[in-house]
């Protein structure tokens, strides 16, 4: 269970997140929508601990995440797939992936190998390129790697920021298939996405953010909610 209440955060003097509340349970995909610059990325960064929360509380299964370092937040079960994928340039595909194993402490090397092999089975292209530098991959493959890197951990909350950005439609479909797999493993997913139609196909519920606040919350299945959403984010 993820519970965010009264969350605020700042960049210096600018007040970006201005009181956000979100509740979500295992296996739920929550879409976070909004126009450019409203604070969607900042919300995810605040949850991940990259930006300090100036007020409010974030708890995951009862454990308080607010004020923890990104590393502690990771160990608490949060996986982060940030915008731009953040693949480490000097690291091979395999090395990038192996860092994802650190989320779960004290794993046996057999268990680790199984997790990595599982990824290479699922993503053949990553397996074939495991000894290549991560940044030599195509954009879609890098996105897959960024998501696989989180999958080899055992995240109970996954934050995903604009995974479809700059990718061809066919690849976007693959990326959203991965989101579904993460959901089916029981993770809570916060999905920030400009591609609202794709996102609504996996999301259960969604929130619309404006100037750091949630101005509308809706059900992904509900036609009126969808229409309201499109009105709100129409440029």
């Amino acid at each position: 269970m993820l519970a965010i209440s009264g969350l605020h955060s700042h960049y210096g003097q600018s007040h970006i997140i201005q009181g956000i509340d979100i509740l979500a349970g295992p296996g739920e995909v929550i879409g976070i929508f909004g126009r450019n610059g409203v604070g969607k990325t900042t919300l995810l960064k605040t949850i991940a601990g990259w930006v300090r929360a100036s007020q409010g509380a974030i708890t995951l299964d009862g454990e308080a995440l607010t004020g923890l370092t990104p590393e502690r937040i990771c160990h608490a079960g949060v996986g982060f797939v940030p915008e731009d994928r953040r693949i480490f340039p000097g690291l091979t595909v395999g090395e990038n992936l192996s860092l994802g194993l650190l989320q779960v402490r004290g794993r046996s090397s057999q268990d680790e190998k199984r997790a990595i092999d599982g990824i290479y089975d699922r993503f053949h292209r990553l397996g074939e390129r495991r000894n290549q530098l991560g940044t030599t991959l195509s954009g879609g493959e890098q996105q897959m790697l960024a998501m696989a890197r989180v999958m080899v951990g055992k995240p109970r909350l996954v934050l995903i920021d604009e995974p479809s950005e700059g990718l061809a439609p066919m690849i976007v479909a693959e990326i959203f298939a991965i989101v579904r797999e993460l959901r089916d493993q029981g993770a809570i997913i916060l999905l920030v996405e400009q591609n609202v139609h794709e996102a609504l196909s996996v999301a259960d519920r969604f929130h619309v953010v404006e100037r750091g606040q949630i101005v509308f919350s809706g059900d992904a299945e509900s036609q009126p909610d969808r229409e309201r959403l499109l009105q709100l984010i129409a440029v």
Binding site: P70, H75, F80, L99, L133
Partner: protein
């Protein structure tokens, strides 16, 4: 003197001595470049950590600890020293906007203090531990001091060992990841603060090890770090700040240039040539020969 004689008795020994000096410089530069590549910190006290290693070897050696054991003991003792220095001096200013300047000044100050403390404890005189491996060996008609041969072999082993850890192990991947993108690394569970402290301590430990290894050749005195560190900085700049292979290549090349220039031109020309190379690199190729640790 025939050309063969010249080759055998003048040129070859000079090249081998240059090689031993080159390995020595690489050992000192290695820690420096790793600390820079990882932490973005220019450790001005690196030369003094080198001196601490040498004095530790001297003092412990005088107390009866054998050289072989010192080779392990001193680097191990340097680790907590590096950890404490990182904790007290680097970490508090690490996140400030002008980290480069602040850490440079702080470590410079630390270096001055260490120099004086060494002077107070051990006196200003130059001391020289006995050569651990006496004698010389003739290879292809060239007579080489055994200890320099040993230094070259050990130096190569250390460089290869460090490169293996940095480039081929998961620990190394964590270090490289944290060097490039601290937030992302942390969000994957890399203990970034520990990695930083550990890297600093590792660099310091390497400087201490260099001190143990080089004391029998270059002697021990409180300011011994200064001359050496200048050359090591040059090597780090020419090789590419933060590049392990860059430090190796630049260290070996520059010391050969130095050795040959002093033989062929004149010893007074070695410094202008070496430091001129550094200036030329800073002006024309500031990124150095190789890329930075953790970067593609």
């Amino acid at each position: 003197m025939t050309p063969v004689d010249y080759l055998q008795f003048v040129l070859a020994p000079q090249v081998v001595n240059g090689l031993a000096l080159g390995i020595a410089v690489v050992l000192v530069a290695l820690g420096l470049t790793i600390i820079f590549g990882m932490l973005d910190v220019i450790n001005m006290s690196h030369g003094e950590f080198y001196a601490i290693g040498a004095y530790a070897a001297l003092a412990l050696g005088a107390a009866g600890v054998g050289f072989w054991f010192l080779l392990i003991l001193v680097p191990v003792l340097m680790v907590p020293l590096g950890m404490v220095a990182e904790r007290l001096l680097i970490r508090p200013v690490f996140d400030t906007k002008d980290r480069h300047v602040t850490t440079l000044l702080v470590t410079f100050g630390l270096g001055l203090i260490v120099e004086d403390v060494l002077k107070i404890i051990f006196g200003a005189n130059t001391q020289r531990p006995p050569t651990p491996i006496p004698g010389a060996t003739e290879i292809l008609g060239i007579i080489l001091p055994n200890y320099r041969i040993f230094l070259i072999l050990v130096g190569v082993a250390i460089v290869l060992g460090v490169a293996y850890v940095v480039y081929k192990t998961r620990l190394g991947a964590m270090v490289r990841a944290a060097a490039f993108d601290r937030n992302m690394a942390a969000s994957l569970g890399v203990p970034v603060s520990l990695v930083y402290a550990g890297t600093f301590a590792f660099g310091v430990s390497l400087a201490g090890l260099a001190g143990v290894l080089l004391a029998p050749i270059y002697s021990v005195f409180p300011t011994m770090g200064r001359d050496f560190i200048l050359l090591a900085f040059t090597v780090v700049i020419v090789g590419g700040m933060g590049s392990i292979w860059g430090a190796v290549v630049a260290g070996l090349l520059l010391t050969q240039v130095q050795a040959l220039a002093s033989l062929i031109i004149s010893p007074v020309w070695t410094d202008p040539i070496v430091f001129g190379t550094m200036v030329a690199f800073l002006v024309f190729r500031p990124q150095g020969l190789f890329g930075r640790l953790g970067h593609a």
